[in-house]
């Protein structure tokens, strides 16, 4: 991995003179997760990091940088978000340079923190072999990387970034992992309708309406025009009630239906850990079943809700 990092740095250095900015990752404050790095001068390149702590999907920054020549470092799943943004013509391909990577899985900082029980302060953390070694105020511990991966890594279908201008390292298949942990969607399926409704009432009761989910979502392109905070139109009111919060989540799910790549940024960003990608996953399943479509694979395709067929093969309409 070390040489992959060096190759990446070399590639960025070479490309930088022609670019306004390159977005990559740098070490974060606590060592458990890396943070975004915006490289504008060659000296910044030394800060670049690449290992499983590069969890964040950087694609969300791209629409805001439209008009600039931007380089971006992308994992396989991040690249699907880039494809979506290209498809919606919210970024320009010719202005964009993608440094693509082969990814063997990214860590879920929340999960690691919970597993390590490392107390409030992490002094240092480093990856060694298949483990993350953490030294914290409580002492030292080591966590197997595989146990700490993000949920989406267990469903990974493409570890190599595509589209890509410069591929760093070797192409390869997604990592072979143990069985995926059960998702909220699986758990919901075992519940009655009443229980599901209660589940969401309880979950949404914890929502603090910070809209981090929206800000992290690379497809929430409406930015400061989000319908959640507008009065024209007035879809959601400001009462502190689970109903309104659930309404917003339904809105987020339906607005991204057929576009969401399940990058998981919404859940990763949620400060209270709500399973808010669940609805999006359900819609994606339906869209796959009805229209045989998956978002983020082909920037030339039209998302299924923006087209139709006169005879929908997989839609069975009710006969009254």
């Amino acid at each position: 991995m070390g040489s992959q990092l060096e190759d990446l740095k070399t590639a960025i250095r070479q490309a930088l003179p022609d670019l306004d900015v390159v977005i990559a990752w740098a070490a974060g404050p606590d060592g458990l997760a890396h943070t975004p790095l915006f490289i504008t001068s060659e000296s910044d390149v030394d800060l670049v990091q690449w290992d499983p702590r590069c969890s964040q999907n950087l694609a969300g920054y791209l629409p805001g940088l439209r008009g600039k020549k931007v380089g971006i470092v992308a994992k396989g799943c991040d690249a699907r978000s880039i494809t979506e943004l290209l498809q919606e013509k919210l970024i320009d391909r010719e202005q964009l340079t993608v440094f693509g990577l082969h990814c063997q899985g990214a860590l879920d900082p929340e999960k690691i923190a919970a597993m390590a029980d490392c107390g409030r302060y992490v002094r240092s953390a480093e990856i060694n072999g298949g483990e993350l070694k953490i030294v914290s105020s409580k002492g030292a511990c080591a966590i197997s990387l595989e146990n700490g991966l993000l949920a989406k890594c267990f469903r990974c279908t493409g570890a190599d970034a595509q589209p890509c201008d410069q591929f760093i390292g070797e192409h390869g298949a997604p990592p072979v992992l143990k069985d995926a942990p059960a998702t909220t969607l699986d758990r919901l399926e075992a519940m009655s309708m009443e229980e599901r409704f209660q589940f969401w009432e309880e979950q949404m009761g914890q929502c603090i309406r910070c809209y981090a989910c929206r800000s992290a979502c690379p497809l929430c392109v409406c930015q400061d025009h989000c319908a959640a905070q507008s009065r024209e139109p007035h879809w959601v009111d400001q009462t502190d009630h689970p109903r309104e919060k659930l309404m917003f989540q339904a809105m987020h799910a339906l607005h991204t239906a057929g576009r969401c790549t399940e990058c998981g940024e919404c859940e990763r960003a949620c400060p209270v850990g709500l399973p808010i990608m669940t609805m999006k996953q359900a819609l994606n399943r339906q869209i796959k079943a009805l229209f045989d479509y998956e978002a983020g694979l082909d920037s030339e395709k039209t998302p299924p809700l923006f087209q139709f067929r006169e005879n929908e093969e997989h839609i069975k309409e009710r006969k009254w």
């Binding site: 409406c222 007035h234 879809w235």
Partner: protein
């Protein structure tokens, strides 16, 4: 905002099952309602005067009328509020008749429901804005689709009114069903003699462009500015050269070609002019029967043609016509009786349709007007007519009355007696429907002067017997079974929608009923309009009609077009979408789903923004549903208006 609510009794139509006083009282509690009353007939003169008076007295800014469906009187009340000095769009209707009083029996439930419908109308009205119609220019040309008697009338009336007309006909000649008829009821005057001159007028009128052997391929645009593509099918004859001399047909060796014009009684040639009075009088080749086109050898017509007009390599041609209005007069087709097993299902040669009989009667028909049995060419003596074949029969999905069969059957019995004085006609009928001027007298003449025997009852079976046919039936007046031996059986086949009618409707974006007949704008008040602006109906495409009614509708449709074109500009419906520049992020999702291409992406101070072409926008709102941030809103159906209606009905 000051809102006034008017709850109509509609006589007892609404007040019978809705407590209108209670609804008006409830309305006073809704936000911004300052005045509410019940009224006997809101649409009547005093009813409208009451609204105007209240607008002035209470300084109302908007009006809700709770009465019938807006499809009935929305336009009426919009004019009313305009007369009261308000913008015509500051008005909403609550449909408490069709959707409440006429369908519910429980008065409490109805009253409550009516009040809630008033509530949503109030909530919507509160968010209405004053709208002003824009204007656009119109192309004062008209297309008439279908060259039967209705289409001919419409085309001539439009042309006489000074309009340029494009007449499109599917068959090689105009004339339609009427050109196949021998005589017409109740005057028994010659069909060709009255239609023929009108057909000639079409050919000679400089304002009329005639495309026969042509069909409408596609229709784009909207009222005032339609682009219609017409497919001119290959005739394999250059009509600019053809003189209609008929030499080609005389020499054509393919003499056993099915004769469409003569209803397949008799044969014709592969190249032919369908009938002597055809307009245009041009030959065309039936490609399926032509030896040259099927087997590549013959060319007899090429040698025969003095004008050198035959062109075997001719192909279909697409022409585009720009018109401002379209009159649809595509007529009807005849019911296929072969699904009636009891009438032989088409197995008996001397059981024929009324239209085939019409061709036998016609002097220009295959028998030159001599009534002969198709099987052996003998003159029949006893002829049985069976009415309602494919009409008024639920079991075959034709529950409607075709309207003209009683009359033409009576006419055919009269003509039969004229042709064959020794003959005897029998008519099996269900009921006689003769509600036109002189019609019932005509039926009586058939019975009394011409001795047609009318038997009220259905026929259960037709069976061949010794070269003749045994017709078994019932006489319901005598309560008896009847059996009649006859030489010829004529089935009064009913009318059904013209083949391809639904497909044409889809191209024109007009609606049609279960049977394929086109839907008029309103069954009483808009008989020749459709719900698509600029498209009008004439004749049997709207439902079976006799000749006078078809002609009347042709004229009516023409007058509607002339009325429409009397203005130089049309007002566009201002209930269209508009874009909030502040909210639009230029993602073009609206543009991708607009069915009309009414949205363009424009540059605004270096930013990409959507922009609506108001005259092209039809107001469907598909864009509003597609815009995640709600930047594009359809006027008067904004997100907030619909949300307000939902909140009014479901206040948590």
């Amino acid at each position: 905002m000051n809102i006034g609510v008017f709850v109509c009794h509609c006589g007892s139509n609404i007040a019978g099952t809705v407590d209108t006083v209670a609804v008006a009282k409830a309305a006073l509690a809704y936000p911004e309602v300052v005045f509410a009353t019940d009224t006997m007939y809101a649409c009547s003169e005093p009813g409208q005067a009451g609204i105007i008076e209240a607008v002035q007295k209470y300084e109302l800014d908007g009006v809700v009328v709770a009465s019938c469906t807006p499809r009935m009187h929305e336009a009426t009340f919009r004019r009313t509020v305009e007369r009261a000095g308000l913008n015509r769009y500051m008005f909403e209707m609550a449909n408490i008749r069709e959707h409440v009083s006429w369908i519910g029996k429980d008065k409490d439930a109805n009253t409550n429901k009516a009040a809630e419908l008033v509530h949503i109308a109030v909530e919507k009205l509160r968010r209405n804005t004053e709208l002003t119609a824009g204007e656009f220019t119109i192309n004062k040309r008209v297309m008439v689709i279908g060259g039967g008697v209705a289409g001919i009338q419409a085309a001539l009336d439009c042309a006489d009114g000074g309009l340029e007309v494009v007449l499109v006909e599917r068959e090689p000649s105009i004339g339609g069903k009427m050109s196949k008829l021998d005589k017409t009821f109740p005057t028994v005057d010659c069909s060709s003699c009255i239609l023929g001159p009108r057909m000639v007028d079409i050919a000679q009128n400089p304002n009329i462009t005639l495309y026969t052997l042509s069909e409408v391929e596609s229709v784009d645009g909207f009222v005032g500015n339609f682009d219609v593509k017409v497919r001119r099918k290959a005739a394999y004859v250059d009509w600019t050269l053809c003189t209609g001399c008929g030499e080609c047909a005389a020499k054509c060796p393919s003499k056993k070609t099915p004769d469409r014009f003569n209803e397949f009684i008799g044969k014709t040639t592969a190249i032919n002019i369908p009938f002597p009075q055809a307009i245009p009088k041009k030959a065309s080749i039936n490609a399926a029967a032509c030896l040259m086109l099927t087997k590549g050898k013959c060319g007899a017509c090429v040698k025969a043609c003095p004008a050198g007009a035959i062109q075997f390599k001719q192909e279909d041609e697409i022409v585009t016509e720009q018109v401002g209005a379209v009159i649809v007069a595509t007529g009807y087709d005849l019911f296929d009786f072969t699904q009636y097993g009891e009438y032989g299902g088409g197995r008996y040669p001397d059981v024929i349709t009324s239209m085939q009989y019409e061709r036998l009667l016609s002097a220009s028909g295959p028998t030159e007007g001599h009534i002969k049995r198709p099987s052996d060419g003998k003159e029949p003596k006893d002829i049985v007519f069976i009415q309602c074949v494919g009409s008024r029969d639920k079991s075959i999905g034709r529950p409607y009355c075709s309207g003209f069969c009683c009359m033409y059957t009576a006419k055919q019995t009269i003509l039969t007696k004229d042709h064959l004085p020794e003959s005897q006609s029998y008519v099996f009928y269900m009921d006689i429907r003769s509600p036109g001027k002189g019609y019932d007298e005509f039926i009586r003449r058939a019975m009394e002067e011409y001795g047609a025997r009318y038997i009220r009852g259905r026929v259960s079976a037709i069976q061949p017997k010794n070269g003749r046919y045994l017709i078994k039936g019932v006489n319901t007046l005598m309560g008896d079974q009847v059996e009649i031996e006859a030489d010829l059986v004529v089935l009064a086949v009913g009318a059904e929608a013209a083949k391809g009618a639904p497909q044409l409707a889809e191209k024109l974006r007009i609606s049609y009923d279960t049977y394929g007949f086109y839907m008029e704008g309103h069954p009483k008040l808009k008989p020749v309009e459709t719900n698509t602006a600029g498209i009008y109906l004439a004749g049997s495409c709207q439902g079976p009609k006799d000749i006078p009614s078809s002609v009347a509708q042709g004229g009516a449709a023409a007058s509607k077009v002339l009325g429409l074109f009397s203005k130089d500009k049309l007002a566009s419906d201002p209930q269209v979408s508009s874009v909030s520049l502040q909210r639009c992020i230029g993602c073009a999702k609206c543009q991708s789903v607009c069915p009309f291409g009414a949205i363009e992406m424009t540059q605004f101070r270096g930013m990409t923004k959507a922009s609506v072409i108001a005259t092209v926008c039809q107001g469907c709102g598909n864009c509003t549903s597609a815009c995640p941030q709600g930047a594009i809103q359809l006027s008067h159906f904004t997100d907030n208006q619909i949300l307000a209606e939902v909140h009014a009905l479901c206040p948590y």
